[in-house]
């Protein structure tokens, strides 16, 4: 079965049924040389223009210096980037990579109890693929099956490190909301199943309002309790914790960002009204394909918009989607980013951003911001990443061409000053990986033959190999799904 890209957004939950967790092991994380100097590059700082023949000095994972006349300190590893372009690492404000299993807890309309951080899979090969596309940070979200979805986490694509090392330190956690066709399950009727509330956009609003009305009451019980405790009341009994409402209280307290999937203008305004009613902020609208129709309202609310470059017509609510969306919203004062929602799309977000120069006439700088500084602002991490400035994390991408071109290829991707992706190294290791795969498959085949050759039942256990027969831990992603 072929599922083309346009339907990916619509069937993101469906795809998960296919995504089996195959065994892979990420490469060992690269060493971090304490000092790196990238020199002779065209540096697109995003924050303060372009520097020709520029250098970037990296110390302890941070950008220590940016300029044209930096001398290589002793012991510095020098990356000569003559003829190449350096940009800040790409930040994908809407990703589903590195998630073990389904991204939707679709059984309930309010699933704030679940958390992506609990199911991060550091061995997901899509981390490496996206890294090879220049992505260094991703906002990993649940699917859009629920009006109020699960808790989200911002990660750095530190391929090779364990799950505990992926989350972006100090990034404000988020929660996924979803409006429109997906939470009302318009395109997902499962034969024989009872329709789930909500089934209309009216119901979506009431689902969210009801949840926040509860959250507010719940918060009050805790506030009262805290007050009594503070007043020295030793008889005060703590309220029963509600794991479903805790994250919503955090939203009310501004400690958790709301990232809301949406398409149509009416539902965008609906959520802004609800947010106002309950006194919270919507941090970003995601997809927001009709955002261009209500750009002033979004700008006035101070909400960010993270959209697609040119997806449209895969469902009714995407029929008015236009590739000029990012440009119009930008012109009306909205902080806009272009996201992927898809592991493959993420590998060329630089190209997707470039399209806004054609559709709506954004400048080169504005276009580049859509996948760097703007998503950093939206995720509240712009003090750390999003531009090439002294003091920021050394999350950088080196291209062989202007990155806003279909001809640009990522050569290296750095996170925290470590080279996590190196195209030359990737290519040079391919033969060895291929050989390793063959050896493993041969072993597997032999084991299978041995197994089927055993006549007595119960004796088909795999034969423990001699120590020297044990396959070495793979150095990379070179383990075929067939082999293990």
């Amino acid at each position: 079965m072929q599922i083309e890209k346009r339907s990916r957004a619509a069937v993101v939950c469906l795809l998960c049924y296919f995504a089996l967790p195959f065994l892979t092991r990420a490469a060992n994380p690269p060493d971090a040389p304490p000092v790196i100097l990238i020199q002779n590059a065209t540096i697109l700082t995003v924050s303060h223009g372009t520097i020709e023949h520029g250098s970037i000095l990296i110390k302890d994972g941070k950008i220590a210096e940016v300029g044209t006349s930096i001398k290589a300190p002793k012991d510095a590893q020098v990356l000569d980037a003559a003829g190449q372009f350096v940009i800040p690492g790409i930040i994908d404000c809407h990703s589903h990579i590195a998630v073990d299993g389904s991204v939707n807890e679709g059984s309930v309309s309010v699933s704030s109890i679940v958390n992506i951080a609990d199911v991060l899979n550091p061995d997901d090969i899509d981390i490496y693929r996206d890294l090879a596309g220049g992505v260094t940070v991703a906002n990993v979200l649940h699917g859009s099956a629920n009006s109020i979805g699960g808790q989200t986490v911002v990660i750095k694509l530190r391929w090779g490190l364990p799950a505990s090392k992926l989350p972006f330190e100090g990034a404000v956690p988020g929660i996924k909301f979803a409006l429109g066709e997906n939470p009302k399950r318009s395109n997902f009727s499962i034969p024989g199943s009872t329709p789930r509330y909500p089934a209309t956009r009216m119901g979506v609003e009431e689902t969210i309002r009801t949840a926040f009305a509860e959250a507010r009451d719940y918060k009050k019980t805790w506030d009262d309790y805290d007050k009594r405790m503070a007043g020295g009341d030793k008889k005060a009994i703590p309220p029963r914790r509600d794991l479903r409402l805790d994250p919503l209280v955090e939203v009310l307290e501004g400690k958790r960002y709301v990232h809301s999937h949406c398409y149509r203008e009416d539902e965008i305004l609906m959520l802004l009204r609800v947010a106002k009613e309950f006194g919270f902020k919507v941090r970003t609208f995601q997809h927001v394909l009709e955002g261009y129709k209500v750009a002033d309202e979004i700008a006035a609310a101070g909400t960010g918009a993270s959209t697609f470059s040119d997806w449209w017509a895969y469902k009714v609510e995407a029929y008015d989607a236009i590739p000029y969306n990012a440009a119009i919203m930008t012109r009306r004062g909205v902080i806009v980013s272009i996201n992927s929602d898809d592991a493959e799309e993420a590998t060329h977000l630089n190209q997707e951003a470039a399209k806004t120069m054609k559709y709506g006439g954004l400048t080169h700088d504005e276009a580049l911001k859509l996948v760097t500084l703007n998503p950093a602002i939206q995720l509240g991490i712009d003090k750390r990443v999003g531009s090439i400035d002294v003091g920021k994390d050394a999350d950088l991408v080196i291209y062989n061409h202007d990155p806003l071109s279909a001809y640009a290829v990522v050569q290296e991707t750095l996170i925290d000053g470590r080279v996590y992706f190196d195209r030359k190294r990737d290519i040079s290791e391919r033969d060895a990986r291929e050989k390793e795969k063959k050896v493993l498959m041969e072993k597997e085949k032999k084991a299978e033959e041995k197994k089927s050759g055993d006549k007595k039942p119960g004796e088909g256990k795999p034969v423990a190999g001699k120590p020297e027969d044990k396959p070495k831990p793979p150095q990379s992603n070179a383990v075929s799904r067939g082999a293990l």
Binding site: S7, V11, I190, V316, K358, R433
Partner: protein
């Protein structure tokens, strides 16, 4: 009272007559002769022409070259600083057959049942589809609209013989204006051995043992073999005039040109094993095969070259098939195929993503494909592969004037199409997206 009604009727009649007059005067014929001057012309049938002129007359290219005279009465477009190319050709789309893929009522791309050789794409093409002007604005002037060519439209189910693909111009009042060729290929979805499937009826994943999946596969291939065998007998009977009480079978009749080797089969397959099986099958059945999909075509490139089987590559803008494939496996495949001498074209396999066709070709260049090959793979190669190169694909005298005038490389993301001609007619570039853009760009500032 009566007189009022009479008066109203009279007024209405007069108004109607006026409208008719206006309408009639609006029907004046557009110019039939154009001269595009001072452009850099990429004919794709020779070296680029600097400061060249291209003359369009009566829908065809009348002249192209550096020293071409502008005919009297021609509408002249000074294309100084601009570049002229043949319009791009997307060889696998569901153009006009599918509007909003999630809404069944708007989708006519996939018929039910496994064998539908008699259904023809051109029959159900909606000339008013919003996809047509949107796609056109990206420089695509003609496409193949292909039944059963995948996508979510199919609800996950695909037939075996999907129907006939049609080659169409992306402009026309009716399908009659649009047709390049009604039937250019018979679609076959090569059966695959699938151990993991998704059951839409229960919305759940199904696993089955390999042996069972293989048996199912073999059963499908046997059925297909039988079907073609019947078609062959039928075609023979047709050839002999048949008995007087000849009962027509439209499905078998539609397959007659296929079994005679006149109409190629467009076979969808991606895995090397499936491609190999399909090639072997078509070889045995003496079918003229064109491969569609071909994600693992690189693994069987020598076979494809030796059999002269061209490939329509599905979008590289999708991830490699296997986890341990090189991350750029699909991106570097076109260069590898070109080096091996396999002929191929790029296809979007879609409607809403058709405008990414140039991006796809450019990405292949970034990963090693020579630029000229990339350009040909979205123009002249698809035309040759589907047997319509006598009409479109290059800028040569006598060919249909499907032409784009751009401000740069037509494969680059930021390049704009400035003028577009289909069948020699200057064709508007505005579309649903452009209109919505202009409307909302001009929305007065909202009072908050």
């Amino acid at each position: 009272m009566k007189s009022i009604i009479w008066m109203a009727r009279t007024v209405a009649m007069i108004l109607a007559t006026c409208c008719f007059c206006l309408n009639a005067s609006a029907q004046s014929q557009p110019p039939s002769t154009y001269a595009l001057t001072h452009a850099k012309i990429f004919t794709l049938a020779g070296a680029p022409i600097e400061d060249g002129t291209l003359v369009i007359k009566d829908g065809k290219i009348a002249a192209v070259g550096a020293n071409v005279e502008v005919p009297a009465g021609a509408q002249v477009i000074d294309a100084k600083g601009l570049q002229i190319y043949p319009g791009l050709f997307d060889p696998v789309t569901q153009m006009g057959l599918s509007e909003i893929s999630a809404v069944n009522a708007t989708v006519d791309s996939t018929e039910t049942g496994p064998y539908n050789p008699d259904v023809v794409a051109a029959t159900a093409v909606s000339p008013s589809s919003e996809h047509i002007p949107v796609t056109r604005a990206s420089g695509i002037t003609e496409v193949l609209t292909v039944p059963d060519s995948g996508g979510f439209d199919s609800g996950g189910a695909r037939g075996v013989i999907g129907g006939q693909a049609s080659a169409i111009h992306l402009s026309g009042w009716t399908i009659n204006d649009m047709l390049i060729k009604k039937s250019v290929a018979m679609v076959i979805s090569w059966p695959v051995i699938e151990t993991r499937t998704f059951d839409f009826a229960t919305f759940s994943r199904k696993e089955k043992p390999f042996t069972e999946a293989k048996q199912e596969y073999e059963k499908q291939v046997n059925e297909l073999t039988d079907y073609l065998e019947r078609a062959r007998h039928y075609a023979q009977a047709m050839g002999h005039g048949g008995p007087s009480d000849f009962h027509r079978d439209l499905k078998l009749e539609a397959l007659a040109p296929v079994v005679r080797g006149q109409l190629p089969v467009l076979v969808f397959a991606n895995r090397a094993r499936d491609i190999r099986n399909a090639v072997e099958f078509c070889d045995k059945q003496k079918l003229k095969m064109i491969l569609a999909g071909g994600e693992e075509a690189y693994k069987v490139k020598d076979l494809l070259r030796s059999k002269g089987i061209p490939v329509i590559l599905r979008p590289m803008l999708s991830l490699p098939m296997d986890e341990d494939d090189a991350y750029d496996r699909l991106l570097s495949q076109p260069a590898e195929l070109a080096a091996a001498g396999v002929k191929f074209a790029f296809g979007s396999f879609d409607n809403s993503f058709a405008r990414r066709l140039g991006q796809q070709a450019a990405n292949a260049v970034a990963y090693g494909l020579p630029y000229d090959e990339a350009l040909k793979a979205v123009t002249v190669y698809p035309a040759e592969i589907f047997g319509v190169a006598d009409q479109v694909g290059t800028l040569q005298t006598g060919k249909v004037a499907n032409i784009i005038v751009t401000n740069g490389d037509p494969l680059e993301l930021t390049t704009e199409v400035k003028f577009l001609f289909i069948k020699g007619q200057r064709t508007p570039l505005d579309n649903r997206h452009q209109r919505l853009y202009e409307k909302y760009l001009n929305r007065p500032k909202a009072a908050n």
